[in-house]
Structures are given as structure tokens and as C-alpha cells.
């Protein structure tokens, strides 16, 4: 099971979250051709390695954020808010070293479980 670090609530279990597909997919300009539009709508990088993706904390704060996760080890190496730039992570390595502080915290403690 994934343990996902919500930047707002801290580390929580996978069933609290909704997967939202890849992050940083840019909508093409209005004048885009059918092929460009189809590429935007349907084609995906689907990497075997680090995947930048969106998660929504459906049974928590309800907010969406980004996660960088390895698709083989399932290791989450970064979590960051919407609008922030993705961290640069070495794509090739399997089992990349976590850059997150996975300190446990719970609601009401006033501490953030986000990257420090």
C-alpha cells in the first residue's frame, strides 16, 4: 500500500487518496491540429521510472497536489503543491533515495508532514 505524503496533512494511507493521472500536461493552443489535440488528450509518457502525477486527498483536506513516484519500486521521492515546478530527479535509478522526511504526524499536532 502507498503511504502518500499530502503537503497539507502529512503522510496518510492510499485509500484516502484519488489518483489524478500525470502532472504537467500542457493544453495546446486553440489553433492546435486534430493530431496535436489527440496527443494532448490521449497520449501518455507512461514511464518505467519516475512518474510525476497528481493525487487528490479525497478523504482528507480535499486538495490536489503533485507526487513524483517510481513506477517500479512505488517509492515516492517528492511531493509538491499545484503550480510548483517538478523537482529534478535522476530518472534512471531504480530505488532512488527518498528526499522526503517521512516523519509521522497527525491532525491537530500543528506539524506539516510535507517535504522539509
Amino acid at each position: 500500500m502507498l503511504r502518500i505524503p499530502c503537503p497539507y496533512c502529512g503522510v496518510r494511507d492510499e485509500p484516502e487518496f484519488t489518483f489524478g493521472g500525470p502532472s504537467h500536461v500542457t493544453r495546446p493552443a486553440f489553433a492546435a491540429t486534430d493530431a496535436e489535440w489527440a496527443d494532448y488528450l490521449f497520449n501518455r509518457d507512461n514511464p518505467k521510472g519516475i512518474h510525476y502525477e497528481r493525487w487528490g486527498h479525497a478523504y482528507g483536506c480535499g486538495r490536489w497536489f503533485n507526487v513524483a513516484r517510481h513506477t517500479v519500486t512505488h517509492e515516492i521521492v517528492a511531493a509538491y503543491r499545484m503550480g510548483e515546478q517538478p523537482p529534478v530527479i535522476d530518472q534512471g535509478q531504480r530505488g532512488a533515495t527518498p528526499t522526503l522526511d517521512f516523519a509521522e504526524d497527525r491532525e491537530g499536532t500543528g506539524k506539516r508532514g510535507a517535504p522539509v
Binding site: 489518483f19 489535440w37 490521449f42 501518455r44 507512461n46 518505467k48 517500479v72 512505488h74
Partner: protein, 414 residues
Amino acid sequence: MQRYSFFNLARQALHGNAGWQPAWREPDVKAGYDVVVIGGGGHGLATAYYLARNHGVRNIAVLEKGWIGGGNSGRNTQVIRSNYFYPVSSAFYDHSLKLYEGLSRELNFNVMLSQRGLIALAHSEHELEMNRRWANAIRMNRVDAEILTPTQIKQRVPIINLQGRFPIVGGFIQPRAGIARHDAVVWGYARGAGALGVDILQGCEVLGFDLAEGRVRGVKTSRGRIAADRVVMSVAGHSSVLARRAGLRLPITTMALQAMVTEPLKPVLNAVVISAAVHAYVSQSDRGEIVMGGGADVYNSYAQRGALPVMQATVGAVLELFPTFSRLRLMRQWAGMVDVTPDTTPLMGLTPIDGLYINCGWGTGGYKAIPAGGDTMAYTVMHNRPHPLIERFGLDRFARGALIDEGAAAGVAH
């Protein structure tokens, strides 16, 4: 090829079973082939088999990164059905089911096809309405389907619990659907292809493509370069990774789909039962194990393992339908990497690169399509145009907006 028959079985038994030969050869890699098929799963082996059998191509290689039967071909839940909604899907999958019906004889290998029927359950009046529409569409497509009342379901499956948290109000059956032993299907095709001269190269990973002037000239592999003017990609979950090596980007997301089996027990369940509402499907294998599956772990994964939340939901759903299974212990749980397309219809046919063909996007339902996938891809490679049954499954359908959305129509998730 050594034929399998009662006579041969008896003869070998009299000689201490010392005379059996391997089911297929372990050949050396040649410098070049007429056709190279990447991926030694069911679809790849069937493609090679029908290329040799129907089109007389003898110089074929099937390149398998791991071993035969080690990927999704050995990880699926063995369900075969053709209860699809759209005529184009129905025609394809029923062609597949018909090929399955003659497959043991065709391959001289018992694939243990058991057409025990597949029952799709409805847990509300609205779902039953949709089931009626679905069953009617199937019948209009000249495929068998019958609406069942709860009493008829209980007669067919006496151990089912009609009055669970979500009571069963009806359903429909495709009587010709069922299961076949998945290992036998891949082994049968491998043996059949091998006997027709196809080189099956295990432990041979494709690392890149030799491309020149927009066409394929061969592949670079972990066992050296292999020249070929026609190359078929048939690698399921790894399709995006392999296609990128040829410069292509696909509308595919790879996820883990898990399945699990209980300890074996005596025959209690004589149909495949599927419920879209509680999201589970269940059958009993010939070895007596209860085989079950449910939804995919819906995030990108190449891990070949599923996580606890989906497993828990699947087991919970199965126990809702069959409370009597609560005493059983799970024996094994595993996952395969499924290649899901946006409209849950496969991607088959030509690519923008000449001589490079693709067969993927089967998502959670590739096993039932193995014979037809191989048959139509063989035709496509030989004629350099899609087989009539797969004309609408091409990569170009996305830009044209001609999606075939079976996701809403074809049962659990696919």
C-alpha cells in the same frame, strides 16, 4: 513434432516416459528473419503461429525478454467471453471465441476449454435495465446471451447469496463463455509455432530498433542485432517503453491488475460470475481453486504486484456474493501489468514506421483475444494493411475521434 494422443501416451508410459521430446526447440539466434515478433506471450506466439500456418512464412523469430508464460499470459484469470456491446468488438471477440472452440484440436494440445457460461449480475433495477440493453445488443450481434431471473441464477449457482448488502435482482448469461487453461494456451501456441519452424528465443530483450528512411530494418537485442523488414510489437504492459525506443508515443497507461486463488476445494461453482457493482469476478479452476479478481490498482505501475486496498475490496466483494467462501484461505496473490487505452479497446495494426506493427492496449482483457489477435495480426503483417476485423482498432482512431468506448459496456473495468 511429437503428436500427443492416447496411443502415444500409452506407448511412452510403457517405455518409462523416457522418449518425450521438449515441446519446442531452443535455437540459436540467426542474423536475420523475415518477421520478428517481439513478445513471447499469447498474442506474440499466436501471431507467429498463424504467420507460419496460414501464410506460409517459415523464417520467423519470437523474442521473449523473460520466459514463455512468465508475463500476463500466466497471470490472467483465464476468462474467455465475447459479450461485447459494439458490433465491431463483438465480431472480433466472437471470432476469438470460435477459434478457442477449435483450439485443442488445432494445436494438438488440450487447452481445457470449459464453456461453463459467464453470468453478469445486476444489483439494482437500473443495472438490470442496462443488462437487458447489453444482452439485447449482444444478441443483435449474433452472439448468445440470455436474461436470467434471480431464481434462475440460484438454480445455476446454488451457493450464491441473493440477499446481500446489495441484493441480486437479475442478470444475464453468455452460455458459450467460460475458462481455458492459460498455460496450455501459450505452451500450445509455442509448440505449434516451433513445429512450423518458428525460432522462439527466450531471454532476448529488445533494446532498440534499426530504422532507416522511415522504415524498420531490424532490432538491437541483448543477444545481438537481428535484421528484419517486418517487426511486430506485442509486449502488453511494456508497450510504451518499447514504442519509445522506436520514437513513438502511445495512448497507454500501465497499471497493475491483481488476481488471487484460494486453496483447492471440491467443485462448488460451475459458472464464471461477474459483478460490476461490487466489482469482482470469480470462477473455480479445474484444480479446484477459487480464482478471483476485481479492479486494477488505478495508478501507473510496472511492479507486477498489487496492493492491499484493492485485494481487500475484491475479497470483500466475493464474500458478499459467496459468504461460504469465508472459511477459505488465500493461497496466492499476484498481479500483471496491463496496458490500458483511453477507450479500453485494443491498439492493433500499422504504425507511422513502415514495417513496424503494433498489437497492444488489451488492458485487463487480452487473454480471451489471443487466437483472434494472432490471426488478424498475421494477416496485417502479410498484407501490410489491417485485417477487416481490426480496421477500427488502429492508432489513428484517436485523432479522428473514432473511439470505441467498451469501457462502459463490457463488464468489470474492461
